[in-house]
């Protein structure tokens, strides 16, 4: 029976390691881990709380409050399906504070490049989509010289 003390040592080590494991686990495990699934439930709310930068299509009526003419032109023209932010960039900050944040206007010198981003000819595009070859159609003239961007059809 003199060997039974070895068993106690083994058992004591086992218990100690187990207690250490439980302590480490309670310290390291985030409180919301496992509430929904095998992940930190709080991270879902953290991602939800991130700020938005694009105001979205639903905010277009807020655009119309100040930019009434442009909004009406767009609503009747061929660009009616477009969101204002497609061309003008993210505007959530501008909607929240119209005076403090101004979205940049597409640069006048770059306007051909800007329009061609969508309207450059390519056989990969749907055939019905309006495309224009900049090497054949009024070379050197800004698109805006003839076309109004909000209602581009002449």
């Amino acid at each position: 029976m003199k060997d039974y003390r070895h068993l106690i040592h083994v058992a004591a080590t086992f218990v100690l390691v187990f207690v250490l494991f439980l302590t480490a686990r309670s310290i390291l495990k985030p409180s919301s881990y496992g509430k929904i699934g095998r992940y930190r439930a709080a991270s879902v709310d953290e991602i939800k709380a991130l700020p938005i930068k694009f105001a979205g299509r639903t905010a277009q009526k807020e655009c119309a409050a100040c930019h009434e003419k442009e909004y009406k032109d767009k609503a009747s023209g061929r660009h009616k399906g477009l969101n204002c932010e497609t061309c003008h960039g993210p505007a959530a900050a501008h909607v929240a504070g119209p005076a403090s944040v101004k979205p940049p206007k597409p640069a006048e010198a770059e306007i051909v490049k800007f329009c061609l981003r969508c309207h450059a000819p390519s056989m990969a595009k749907p055939r019905k989509f309006p495309q224009v070859d900049p090497l054949k159609h009024n070379v050197g003239t800004a698109c805006t010289a003839c076309h109004t961007p909000h209602s581009p059809r002449l």
Partner: protein, 253 residues
Amino acid sequence: MRGLQRRQFLKISTAALFGSLMTKLAAPLAWAEDFYREPPWKRKKPYWGFAVDIDKCIGCAKCVEACKIENNVPKEPFYFRTWVERYVLRKNGAVEVVCPNGGMDGYPDIEDEGGVAKAFFVPKLCNGCEHSPCVQVCPVGATYKTEDGVVLIDKDYCIGCRYCIQACPYGTRYFNPVTQTADKCSMCYHRITKGLATACVEVCPTGARIFGDLSDPNSALTKFREDNKTESLKVHMGTEPKLVYKGFDKEIR
């Protein structure tokens, strides 16, 4: 008389055995009701999905730009949550795929247009797999599928082991050099939970991208899936993507 008794005994014992076996069998059957046969959006609300109409995409890559702005994706041309590839299928069977800077810098001219069988643009993004390999391989539970069906990354919990980047069959994950964590399309979770559409859908000029709630029978997405014949990427992998394409081609990888 003895024979009859034996027969009776056998009858009763067989009936008893059969009865107990049936109750034993019925118990696991009741438990099996946890495994649903119908898709999750039949019982969970909302459940987000995505669709792409390849026939409408013009390759302007406004979506790529908007995604980078909305989600603070590094501007270098290696980091994308969404990107637009141009496929050129030659008559001789050759397939050319190009995607310079996600499509934001435009595409090179197609050479020898006479030899082209067909050409089209394919926007790519997170497929929102029902059985996502990236979630399965994460060793720390930093990536997960939310109750409304979106695969997200917990940036505070990610250890940056890049295992999920290897696991994604669609290559939609990248290593964010700023946060030093894995990063991916979050289906603009911060927008969709506020009732807005994703940034890429907001700016798409032709309506080639459709976002919506699969559990809503009247949503634009449900209607799109009902009205069109759609296909997903790499269905043979069994990941069950919630992203579907209209105008799919077998050469799309």
